[in-house]
């Protein structure tokens, strides 16, 4: 395994739509300052944003950890929330358990998890109902040249 160059964690506040997106904005600035290439930055930011939004929409609180090595960028998103009963179902495009309220805010089209999966090279979800969810995504740095 490649040596870790950087590891930073950020707290995400559940149900705070006002601040939603700030963590992924922070990630973007870090990657941009480190001159990570544009395509990988874009993929990472999309994964981070969707992950952050899932925590904001469903969980009480969570953390997002950014880990950078020579070879890849990893994101770990951990939350204390309701958990996902059927992960396979949740990964289908268009499947959503969002409330009408959330949809009115423009979220909950059932594209969050599928989008995260699509934009990462490795993607795992572990979840325990009533406890929380842990998402792991890896973006390879050489995948896009």
């Amino acid at each position: 395994m490649a040596a870790e160059l950087l590891r930073e964690s950020f707290n995400i506040q559940g149900r705070n739509f006002d601040k939603a997106g700030e963590v992924s904005s922070g990630i973007k600035v870090i990657l941009r300052d480190l001159l990570i290439d544009a395509a990988n930055t874009r993929r990472t930011v999309i994964v981070a944003y969707e992950g952050e939004m899932n925590v904001v929409m469903y969980a009480d609180r969570g953390t997002l950890t950014l880990i950078l090595t020579d070879k890849d960028i990893s994101l770990e998103i951990d939350d204390e929330g309701p958990g996902i009963p059927d992960i396979e179902m949740a990964l289908q495009e268009g499947y959503s358990t969002a409330s009408d309220e959330m949809r009115e805010l423009g979220f909950g089209f059932g594209m969050g998890l599928p989008n995260m999966k699509k934009n990462s090279d490795e993607f795992r979800i572990e979840s325990e109902v009533g406890k929380g969810t842990r998402v792991f995504a890896r973006i390879k740095l050489d995948a896009n040249g």
């Binding site: 160059l5 950087l6 997106g21 904005s25 480190l34 544009a38 930011v45 999309i46 944003y49 950078l68």
Partner: protein, 408 residues
């Protein structure tokens, strides 16, 4: 220094220095610097005399700069009297590019939204601060470039001149377009030969307009082209695109907010973003004279009072649309920065060093070190571009040195 949206300015020994790879030519510094440390890169009118035949391509913003009773035709006449050999009717080119954009958007498979490129500041902002979005920038030429190409073609044929003897001169509302002629972002050569600031010729034009006998009586032989100026929609307004999927944005702050959302994949329903860095669009450019709101009122007045373009106009647009290619020559790439010479490991080290330095700084962003924010100073120190002790909180001597410099 603080006005700069990309933090590209440092003040060292009392002088402003530019980190040129970060500069996006927006001109924000130009408007706030009282001391004249910064000036616009336009050409003086007198420099144009080396060309045999000079054609003015006037930004529609020029037409909004004068009184309500001054017509576009008056402005055209005044330009001719000022010494231009012809005034180009720019409205056709604007209509052509509008059509090209509309068609392009319809055929584009993605990524969305496409972003307009007629404002050079927006293009450079993307190259510098949003490199992941360069493929959102619409790869079409701006109307001013299309105009310059066509006018050279036409006058070299009609007047029997070499294209090199003809100068296409843009009458510009901002310095950014002047710079885009000298150094196009897509690294092709501009069809235009230079730009003259609206503010530079404003007084002369006004004098000529006031002296000229009112419409109708102008000596006909002065008018060699364009039948004086036709009113085009302000640059880049695309009436044919569906309102629902098309957003016009003005002002750098607002543009950056929307770009941040695009990077997160949050903008989903928009196909085309028309972005102008100046608040209020080109009529608010920093080389204009009239205040934005008066100019806007004049703009609305012009739009309401101009007759609809006749069948000839439409015919000309159809004719040229079938013949011409509007795609951008050259391609747009993210701008290289100096950090790319070092590897990722070293960049991470620099970042960590910058964070450590930042913890020792007061976070007041006083600017006395010469950087706009403590964060920028920390980055400069980590990259060995600045001395940590330039911070007055860490080095009281620095205050004395600054005092000597400024208290004269």
């Amino acid at each position: 220094m603080r006005a700069c949206p990309t933090h590209a300015i440092r003040v060292k020994n009392g002088k402003a220095h530019l980190i040129s790879e970060l500069c996006i030519d927006c001109g924000s510094c130009l408007g706030v610097c009282q001391l004249g440390a910064i000036s616009a890169t336009t050409i003086k009118f007198a420099e144009l005399n080396r060309y045999k035949f000079k054609v003015a391509v006037a930004s529609p913003a020029l037409l909004t700069q004068f009184g309500l009773r001054d017509t576009p035709a008056d402005v055209g006449r005044a330009l001719l009297e000022l010494g231009f050999d012809a005034v180009w009717d720019y409205a056709v080119d604007i209509a052509l590019v509008d059509r090209a954009i509309t068609d392009f958007v319809k055929k584009w498979p993605g990524p969305f939204p496409l972003i307009s490129n007629s404002c050079p500041v927006v293009v450079r902002l993307i190259q510098v601060a949003y490199p992941s979005m360069v493929d959102h920038v619409i790869p079409l030429e701006a109307p001013r470039e299309i105009a310059a190409r066509e006018l050279k073609r036409r006058y070299s044929r009609e007047m029997g001149l070499n294209p090199e003897e003809i100068a296409a001169i843009y009458i510009t509302p901002c310095q950014a377009k002047a710079i885009s002629i000298l150094q196009p972002a897509e690294e092709a050569k501009s069809n235009l030969d230079g730009a003259v600031a609206i503010s530079e010729i404003y007084n002369d034009l006004l004098t000529k307009m006031r002296k000229t006998v009112r419409p109708g009586d102008a000596p006909k032989d002065l008018v060699t082209a364009g039948e004086l100026l036709h009113w085009g929609a302000p640059e880049g307004e695309i009436p044919a695109l569906s309102r629902e999927h098309y957003l016009p944005l003005t002002g750098l702050t607002d543009i950056m907010k929307v770009f941040n959302d695009i990077e997160k994949g949050r903008i989903r329903n928009i196909e085309f973003l028309e972005c102008d860095a100046c608040q209020g669009g080109c009529i608010g450019g920093n080389l204009t004279v009239e205040n934005l709101y008066v100019a806007r009122s004049k703009n609305l007045h012009l739009m309401a009072s101009m007759p609809k373009p006749g069948p000839e106009f439409e015919k000309e647009v159809d004719r040229r649309y079938a013949l011409e290619d509007f795609s951008l020559r050259g391609s747009l790439k993210p701008r290289q920065t100096e950090g790319e010479a070092i590897d990722l490991r070293e960049r991470v080290m620099r970042r960590k060093r910058a964070e450590e330095v930042l913890r020792t700084l007061p976070l007041l962003n006083c600017g006395l070190c010469g950087a706009p924010k403590c964060k920028n100073h920390a980055e400069d120190v980590a990259a060995s571009r600045a001395d940590l002790l330039d911070c007055v909180f860490l080095s009281p001597d620095r205050i004395k040195a600054l005092g000597k410099h400024y208290k004269k």
